[in-house]
């Protein structure tokens, strides 16, 4: 996104908004990860304790989810930059 047309008061406001959004996004991503990994890995409710197999699955799932999101983020940033066209002189 290009904010170069914004004056300094507007840029300061946008910076605050973006920072707040980043925090909210991070929290949402975190909850989403927990929900997804729980749903994929926990299917046995004969005990309330996490079995070592379930725990391993959750850890791998979390690792993979983070790497997945990171890779999507990289591709997303590249494609987003492309779609914005060449930089202004």
């Amino acid at each position: 996104m290009d904010f170069s047309q914004f004056n300094s008061a507007e840029q300061a406001h946008m910076t605050k908004v973006i920072e707040k959004k980043q925090m909210q996004d991070f929290l949402r991503m975190y909850s989403n990860l927990v929900e997804r990994c729980f749903n994929s890995c926990c299917n046995d409710f004969t005990s309330k304790a996490l079995s070592s197999k379930e725990e391993q699955c959750v850890m791998n799932c979390a690792d993979k989810f983070l790497k997945h999101s990171e890779r999507v983020g990289q591709r997303f940033a590249e494609l987003n930059a492309e779609s914005m066209g060449p930089a202004k002189p």
């Binding site: 406001h13 908004v17 959004k21 997804r36 791998n60 993979k64 997945h68 591709r75 987003n80 779609s83």
Partner: protein, 98 residues
């Protein structure tokens, strides 16, 4: 998503309409990103979770999946611009009488 962008209004103070448009655009980009993360996870990641690294197949799948989602987003965006946002389907719920 350029159809969201309004014209630039030069001036000193904070232009609230322009701010709101920029915020709308940020929210839209974030929303699209989160949907891509979800869709491409479902399409590309095996739920066996035997290891924590992305394997070669998953990595390649993610790259193509993100690119394809962008293409779909672009095609649909072009279609919507041609059709005009007039026939907004959201009007049903928005029929509030003042």
């Amino acid at each position: 998503m350029s159809f969201l962008r309004g014209g630039s209004t030069p001036g000193g103070g904070v232009n609230h309409e322009r701010m709101e448009m920029a915020i709308n655009e940020i929210e839209m980009i974030t929303d699209v990103f989160n949907r891509i993360v979800g869709s491409c996870h479902s399409k590309c990641i095996s739920t066996r979770y035997a290891e924590g690294d992305l394997n070669k197949g998953e990595s390649v799948c993610i790259d193509r999946c993100v690119a394809k989602f962008f293409e779909v987003n672009k095609k649909v965006g072009e279609k919507m611009q041609n059709a005009g946002a007039n026939a907004s389907p959201a009007t049903g719920a928005s029929s509030f009488s003042l």
